[in-house]
Assembly symmetry: D2
Homo-oligomer: 294 residues x 4
């Protein structure tokens, strides 16, 4: 029996609600959509993305400012400059932001300015980081490691809870297999199992699992049908120009279509999708110096 008293359900159908920012709640009847580019590349990019996504009903914006890259010579993220952009997005659009944290030093920089902190796959068993995050008051998005078992993911969440922070959202994002056609294998069975075993919300990242944008929408629909509480999707104003993971980012048009297509699926499993907003909310706010007079 797994020794995870803080993460495993103690009573039937117990479900935690995790709040990010002021209005977004993960784990309730409404599906939560988190979207945005792999990496924050510029203020203009983030503004374009957020303006469009906020209109379709996306409730939180993702964007990496510290990027874990296989090569030390690859773009490592905009760091402080990127944090400033996230901060400005959060204030301007009143949407919570989600970004990855990889060390104590980054935590100190990010914590005052973003709404949710992500632990990436590579750090799922970076226990010293998990302990630190247990001492913050921020909600944590904990991604499953590439070769982590379901039980190890639960125990990683238990680390955060045991150190004082029970605002944890679990995320299935694909595991490593022998097949190279998809980047990773999206393990929706793990989503079903985690929903049954734990009271924490479980969301799905179909973008990293698929690694190919043409597979993302179908997997997103499958995830909601399986019972996921939300999705985190990579999208980009010009996907082919993305500095990282270009092959898997959706265009903003495709993102909008995906949002629409998820409504009937959500309803089919007793959930709701966030409402799309009719007109752009913030079209009069000038960016720097981006002019989006659409």
């Amino acid at each position: 029996m797994l020794d995870a008293p803080l993460v495993l359900k103690s009573i039937d159908n117990q479900q935690s609600l995790i709040k990010i920012g002021e209005n977004c709640v993960i784990g309730g009847k409404e599906i939560v959509m988190i979207a945005g580019p792999c990496a924050v590349e510029s203020a203009a990019q983030m503004h374009t993305v957020t303006e469009r996504l906020s209109v379709c009903g996306v409730q939180a914006i993702r964007g990496g400012v510290f990027k874990p890259r296989t090569s030390p010579y690859a773009f490592q993220g905009m760091a402080e400059e990127g944090i400033e952009i996230l901060r400005s997005i959060e204030r301007q659009f009143r949407l919570p932001t989600v970004t990855e944290v990889m060390s104590a030093e980054q935590l100190a920089l990010l914590s005052p300015h973003v709404s949710m902190l992500q632990v990436g796959s590579r750090n799922m068993q970076n226990f010293e980081l998990l302990k630190l995050l247990g001492k913050t008051d921020k909600p944590i998005l904990l991604k499953r490691g590439l070769a982590a078992t379901i039980e190890e993911l639960i125990m990683a969440a238990e680390y955060i809870c045991a150190h004082g922070n029970n605002q944890v959202v679990l995320c299935e994002r694909g595991i490593r297999s022998f097949d190279t056609y998809t980047r990773n294998v999206l393990d929706l069975g793990a989503v079903v199992a985690l929903k049954q075993m734990t009271h924490l919300p479980v969301i799905v990242d179909p973008s990293h699992a698929a690694g190919k944008r043409e597979l993302v929408a179908d997997l997103a629909r499958g995830a909601i049908a399986c019972g996921a509480d939300g999705l985190i999707i990579e999208c980009h104003p010009e996907p082919e120009k993305s500095v990282s993971d270009a092959r898997q980012a959706l265009s903003l048009n495709d993102m909008e279509k995906l949002m629409v297509s998820l409504g009937p699926i959500a309803r089919a499993v007793g959930r709701t999708m966030p409402q799309a907003v009719q007109a752009p909310q913030l079209s009069i706010v000038p960016i720097r110096p981006l002019v989006t007079s659409k």
Copy 2:
């Protein structure tokens, strides 16, 4: 580029329709449901199962008469006696039957009496068997091997087509991974990829992937949301008494609930579910003792 001219799509949105029995077509707008026990155990068992399934709209009945078992000392199937039962079910209920074939000898026995022949995971690259099946006129259900890549599955189907039989339905049924919580990892990304790459219908077996009955329904819904053309589900009148794979079989009640729950999902992706029949078709036939009209 994969050399599979008979299996890969040559034109956009090309879709083959594979007919099994007289009325069941896989690959069209209607989702096809194949269900039944892991193994044919008795005439009474098959009659009970089929009577109930036929009422909920299930279009084809599965049941193994030659069972590939890890141990030579485990139950190996009812063989000829089981074929007789399948034959009687097919005649009595006018529902096509699906069963596994593993050798030339079994093929000769099964071919006159069942509607669809299944190649199991362990034989996906039993090329001599594939060649033989290419020379039959029966539709083939080709299950993905436990460690077969998407491309190898396509090439296995190409074997059957290249030897003369293009009535092939592909089946994703979970792949091997490091995680032991689920029996296998259901790879719905492969379903999405196969639907995009090939013109063959693709169905999903969530029972073998999950290995635990409480995971089956959610995965079944996920599979349909991802675009699968149908499902093959293990169910049993008394699951805990099943001679094999007892842990993953649904009860007939759960099977009926699953059928109902799939309707909205199917419609959400532009498909339909088969109609449930209001009254049992064969209610006057006494179940035990079974009188099969040979």
Copy 3:
């Protein structure tokens, strides 16, 4: 506890000796070397290979005449013509031959003419084939499936034994993993485990595991140091011209060097290597054109 009474050791250090041909015994103090090309391509090729290998001490010759190929359009082996070549090699050089069998039909063709029958990875759980081989009197080389557990390999061997033939040699040949640098991952831990658990001889195929010839010799030495009873190695007179698996075949020169290098390793673990023959046994036989003394 594994139900494999015929394969698991019943007493400590019990070790079966399996004889192939007239003089070759696998499982004794002497390491057994099986070598040859992936596929039999011509009489000249087989003659060149065997003449050279027999001089270095290789005790048995491999060569496929029925080839399991991923694509139906790839070379499928020389079939009957290849059997004739193997037969002539066996008579001329008095060396046993090993070749793969995939069906009852092939078994009938091969059985009278070759010394040892190989079950390939893809057929390790082709139970109908295993049952047939259980009824022959030929020694069987049973290769581990690409995703077969150690226990499943043992149970596959148990199938052959339970049907009457206990002349089984197990072969580790690499398993599937996420890494693509090597073709498969050679699992020498399985060799150690199998030697401890079973009384059957265990040999290793480093060629298929490595998939790259420059890795083969080191892995071969590692296998013997781990306790393997022998090796099966792919080699070719002109590796780059091999019709299949060209990338992994050793040249005959490299094969000879490998044989020499294995001597000290074998002795370090209390084994011996076969003696190299000083002068070519058959140097007067002209190689091209080949005159086989039928």
Copy 4:
């Protein structure tokens, strides 16, 4: 082509020598043996272990003081108290010590007192940690992640080198697979590939791969035969009482036998084993109670 100019070989047969402590060099003709318990448990335990190992020729002592444990409720290591023990061992026996580091904070504590810092599997892609280690002057033992490709391991080493520290030793310690008989699958093919591709020394940890002590010695011999530059082995005065990984630790007697058995293997591949010392170096020091000369 892999962009790892600091790790990949630029000229043939280039080989880096990495010095740990005053006398131990990894990558030369002499095999380097690192051994000790999974975790430092007490001064007495470490003294007993080191006294015995130093006599058999072991050149460096391992022992974790910060332990990465799956559960937050499991023993997390002796921390500062353990560092003090390692320091005393290093002074008393003049043997270098190797221990795992997981964060900047631990690095500051460990750096002045141990000879080599280990990056564990779970942190192989903890890039912030790798960057920090690139700025130290300590040799680094970089263990391969459980699902890390060979190329990812090379790029992780490149991170350390690119940040200024080229004293990196690579370590293969088993990868995750579907098989549960061994804890992980020791990938000796990766060792062969890494020796060919990089100029860094490569050592092997058969203990974590095997997960069962009865498999360790054979795998250790296999690793040396494959070309590894050394081994890191878990051993314990009373293995069954080990606070962690008890199932895989060798007894000190078995460790001594292993050292002896490795000599002929090392010589068979042109290497040497360290000399065993005739008489215990420190036999006058009473073991319990331990008086450490601080």
